[in-house]
Symmetry: C2
Subunit: 197 residues, 2 copies
């Protein structure tokens, strides 16, 4: 049988993980079998175990790589010299870009994390909670600044985070709008609303 080829900028393990992310997104983690993943790689299922530790490990790698990217970006944004609304805009734009650039991985991290095993599950949820509460702090500062309306900050965070997830459904309409227009639309909607003044 044909061998798996390593990508130019990554190991064979990376290639397998990338393909796994695609399948996990389309069919879900549990519904994706190792045999199916192997077939997609042009190989028998047991051969995968020359490169990876387990099916669970694939999910872990996907989820935590994405979590790291978001945490790092939040860290940079927090410490940057910007107004609160500018920081919010940066965060929203980053979420949109991640959604468009590594769609499968972000989708899996958003939806399939529940199949992580302990202690990874607990760790992952902790990171999420921390990310959320740092955004809440940001918005709370903005309200004190009088830069933002006196809205419930936790509700605002959930609304923003969920709204950017909406790009899951955008994949079907990619051609209708440029990436810039898409970003600008969503940022404007979330920061300035839909209704004309």
């Amino acid at each position: 049988m044909a061998k798996i080829k390593a990508a130019l900028n990554g190991t064979i393990k990376d290639v397998i993980t990338k393909k796994a992310a695609g399948l996990f997104r389309k069919k879900g983690f549990i519904a994706t079998s190792m045999r199916e993943l192997a077939e997609n790689m042009g190989v028998e299922a047991p051969s995968l175990y020359n490169h990876i530790g387990s099916k669970s490990e694939l999910l872990q790698n996907i989820c935590f790589k994405i979590a790291d990217e978001f945490n790092n970006h939040l860290q940079v944004t927090e410490t940057s010299q910007q107004t609160i609304p500018q920081k919010l805009e940066l965060l929203i734009r980053f979420h949109i870009q991640m959604m468009l650039q590594v769609f499968d991985e972000v989708y899996v991290a958003n939806h399939e994390w529940k199949h992580l095993k302990e202690p990874y599950l607990g760790n992952f949820l902790l990171q999420r909670k921390s990310y959320e509460s740092r955004m809440v702090k940001l918005i709370t500062s903005g309200i004190k600044n009088k830069a933002l309306k006196n809205i419930h900050p936790h509700v605002a965070v959930l609304t923003i985070l969920s709204a950017v997830r909406g790009l899951e459904f955008w994949q079907r309409h990619k051609k209708e709008v440029t990436v810039e227009a898409l970003e600008n639309n969503i940022v404007d909607h979330l920061l300035n609303g839909l209704i004309k003044n």
Copy 2:
């Protein structure tokens, strides 16, 4: 073994379906076994088949019952005598109420529909597409009216629909805010934005 008791306002099948919705939400459709569902009902797995046709049928019932509720409400809203922004507000409020009142079922319809079998899968996706495009029409009218900003209507619909889904994560924070405040916050955020004028 103890018998399953019918609820006051529903058959035994309804009780099983309700419990299934809870498990499907927590663990996912595929990861939920009929043995596990049976255990939760205090019964052996084969006994369930005295009341239901199959595992798939449970998922179908959940998804299409929710789809019907949303379609009916949209129909009523469309034909009501209201301004476009008022209609949008009604839709957003209905989504929030459904999310809070039949959380498990809405969650399953939102996330587990991909495990529906044909022809149910195709039918379901068609209904979703139709719902979306009716919302696009509504927003397009609002833009022509100059009631709404000249935003890309499809993007706005995805943003709104995704934002209300955010209440998935709200379940943990239920006590912090009243339902009315929650609704008002989200409606105001989506229609008028976050930034003070």
